[in-house]
């Protein structure tokens, strides 16, 4: 996917003015936030589950090499072929080679964010393979030529009416407005593709080391059709998605749907193990699993390692007051919201996503809801430190910080500064006691007044009083 994270601020401002988007976002926020709140109450001991889930993910990541090798062995033993892709380009090359090997002309896809990282669809199309997205949201986006704006609900930014217009225009059928009718129309369009596709491409929510299985959670059933109907199945996922045992999955699955959509369980949980055996009518004849690094191993062993625990539920963005107001497209790459503000700089380069670690008030809502307890604000702060160390912040910002930090260490100097500032600002504000404009502070005064200081500092008043 084209990286546009450097345009974060401009895009965010544009999204703030987009009325239709604002309506879609506020609808979605209510749905996800309240549904999750209800769903976790059912569990009773949600905090204990979070601890257990974080522990499972930590265990897997601590010995990632061992579990990945175990996964490769068990998956291979069941007839799957495991590929290792170091970069996004490697993923595209591998999948195109598989397509060529099997004479694939059409591929259906269920949802895969990793394939968005790689821009796999474009690579396959360039190799002459027709690609059809079968997740309803992704299908809509493919028709509209838009990227996803949310990792769980990719089309959350669009209204029902926009989708109705799009379907009418592309499907050339009478315009429908009821959601069930729109779904039925999409299903009718997609069904022939499942039957005629040579290859099914899926992601994987988890890889299970002890059984060699890939697991996907879906709500539409398209995932099951994608992974079982075509003769070739390719599952593409990040190396960090491995967990040791099926038992571990039981814990994680209690948290993932509840955190994501507020469901106790998704409509489908599909575990795919190996190829179809002799005499079995279901399942692919050829099963390839592409394990993707694309920057993940850079996180191993470093301070940002907890990010690898992420199970892609989207709760952090659903609860992020920044995301809630601007949506996912402003972030400019595959992963939006707080998790994206950590992942994008790591995967795509810190210098290519300067605003993202700063796109947070550190309100802590993301960390409070994360089912695997990733301390997202702390990780964003570490990235800010890296920006500072590498001199990637604007010089004005660095200078102001330097002066402030220096003055704060010298109370006599500091008090001169503050006494002058308190007086000047108070004087300018006048009777009204409000400042409408501050040179260099337009970020603030563009939308707000600044209440004026009282005129004298606490320290000088205090000194007079105790004298």
């Amino acid at each position: 996917m084209q990286l546009a994270s450097m345009e974060f601020k401009a895009r965010a401002s544009e999204k703030l003015r987009d009325r239709q988007l604002q309506q879609s976002l506020s609808k979605a926020q209510g749905k996800f936030v309240f549904a999750r709140a209800d769903a976790i109450l059912e569990l009773g001991n949600f905090e204990a589950y979070r601890d257990a889930a974080a522990d499972i993910r930590d265990r897997a990541i601590r010995d990632l090499d061992l579990y990945l090798e175990q996964f490769e062995q068990t998956a291979t033993a069941r007839g799957a072929v495991v590929y290792w892709a170091e970069t996004a380009q490697d993923v595209n090359r591998i999948v195109c080679e598989i397509a060529e090997l099997h004479g694939v002309r059409k591929a259906v896809k269920s949802k895969s964010m990793v394939s968005e990282e790689c821009a796999l669809n474009q690579a396959l199309e360039a190799a002459g393979v027709e690609v059809v997205e079968s997740d309803l949201g992704e299908y809509i986006l493919q028709l509209a030529h838009e990227p996803p704006s949310h990792i769980v609900a990719p089309v959350v930014h669009k209204s029902k009416d926009e989708i109705a217009d799009l379907f009418e225009q592309i499907h050339r059928k009478p315009r429908k407005t009821a959601i069930p009718e729109l779904c039925r129309e999409a299903r009718e369009m997609l069904r022939p593709h499942f039957l005629s596709a040579d290859m099914g491409i899926s992601g994987a929510n988890f890889l299970i080391a002890e059984t060699g299985s890939t697991l996907i959670v879906t709500n539409e059933g398209n995932g099951r059709l994608t992974t079982t109907l075509p003769r070739v199945h390719v599952a593409i996922t990040g190396i960090e998605k491995v967990v040791p045992t099926l038992e571990d999955i039981a814990t994680l699955l209690r948290l993932l749907p509840r955190s994501a959509t507020g469901q106790a369980i998704t409509n489908y949980v599909s575990i795919t193990t190996g190829v179809s055996g002799e005499g079995e009518s279901d399942g692919p004849e050829n099963f390839y699993i592409v394990l993707v690094d694309a920057g993940r191993s850079k996180l191993l062993g470093g301070a940002l390692q907890p990010m690898l625990r992420c199970i892609r539920c989207g709760a952090c963005m659903n609860h992020c007051p920044v995301y809630q107001n601007i949506g996912g497209h402003a972030y400019g790459w595959v992963y939006p919201g707080p998790m994206g503000s950590v992942l994008t700089p790591v995967y795509a380069g810190l210098e290519n996503a300067l605003d993202l670690p700063n796109a947070s008030t550190f309100c802590g809502a993301c960390a409070a809801v994360c089912p695997v307890k990733i301390p997202l604000p702390d990780l964003m702060r570490m990235l800010r430190e890296q920006q500072m160390e590498r001199g990637l912040r604007p010089w004005q910002e660095r200078l102001v910080l330097k002066i402030w930090a220096w003055a704060a260490l010298f109370p006599a100097v500091y008090s001169v500064f503050t006494r002058i500032a308190a007086r000047i600002l108070n004087w300018i504000a006048g009777e009204e006691k409000l400042l409408h404009y501050l040179p260099g502070g337009q970020g603030w005064t563009g939308g707000r007044d600044l209440p004026a200081p009282e005129g004298q500092t606490f320290r000088e008043l205090y000194r007079h009083r105790i004298r």
Binding site: L16, V322, E389, Q442, G447, L450, T457, R459, Y462
Partner: protein, 237 residues
């Protein structure tokens, strides 16, 4: 005393002093105190934050407790100071000890000093905005409400989404002005919808942000008050 109180709202500092005295405490404000270091820390300048942490450590060495009229500054000292010195055991022990005796004002008044009689009066309805650091780092939620409930003329009217960030976020408010303003705007709408005469809160950052947006929206009526101002009442000289 926090740097924003020092520069912007000394009266909140004095209100905090009156409350602590009413609770039977002897209160000292170190003369050399400036800032806890959070602006630098959250901007990626760990170095300056550490220097200021050590300065605070020296300044409050003789106090039994460190109390701040701010969840954000108290959170910085309690939650973040120890992390700054993870790799420096020579400082870690003392810093951790300081962090354990650091409290946000209302938390301290309720759970440590056990303030019974509230000096202040207030007649009207108040809605309370939960500041992020106080709420999520220090668990400050019921403490200010318990104290406000003891004022007989005060009626607490909760707003929608009282736990949602107001959009201040320190330098975020200037770096990401448009987003910050929208968040403040949502907060102002919730405050106005509650119908309360005043919004009370525990942090200067949120206070300036919310007041600044309310006034720009043309609302001159809704008062924006630090919880200490309400609890301490008018100053009697």
């Amino acid at each position: 005393m926090t740097c924003l109180v020092d520069l912007m709202r000394p009266r909140i500092g004095f209100a905090a002093l009156r409350l602590l005295k009413a609770a039977g405490c002897e209160v000292i404000v170190p003369k050399t105190q400036t800032c806890c270091g959070q602006p630098g820390y959250n901007s990626g300048d760990r170095h300056s934050a550490k220097a200021l942490a050590l300065k605070i450590l020296r300044e409050f060495a003789d106090c039994d407790y460190l109390v701040a009229p701010s969840g954000s500054c108290a959170g910085m000292i309690r939650e973040h100071y120890p992390r700054l010195f993870n790799e420096q055991p020579q400082h870690l022990e003392k810093i951790s000890e300081l962090s354990r005796r650091t409290y946000e004002l209302t938390d301290f008044l309720v759970n440590v000093a056990k303030l019974q009689k509230i000096p202040g009066n207030f007649y009207g309805s108040v809605t309370y905005h939960d500041s992020c650091s106080g709420l999520r780092e220090l668990g400050v939620k019921s403490q200010p409400r318990q104290l406000l409930a003891k004022i007989s003329g005060l009626q607490l009217t909760e707003m929608q989404n009282c736990e949602t960030c107001c959009g201040f976020g320190g330098t975020f408010s200037v770096k990401m002005g448009d987003i910050s303003t929208r968040m403040a705007d949502n907060k102002c709408s919730a405050i106005q919808a509650s119908g309360a005469d005043a919004v009370a809160l525990g942090d200067l950052g949120c206070m300036l942000n919310i007041e600044g947006r309310l006034r720009r929206r043309g609302d001159r009526k809704t008062r924006v008050l630090h919880v200490a101002e309400i609890l301490a009442g008018e100053e009697r000289v």
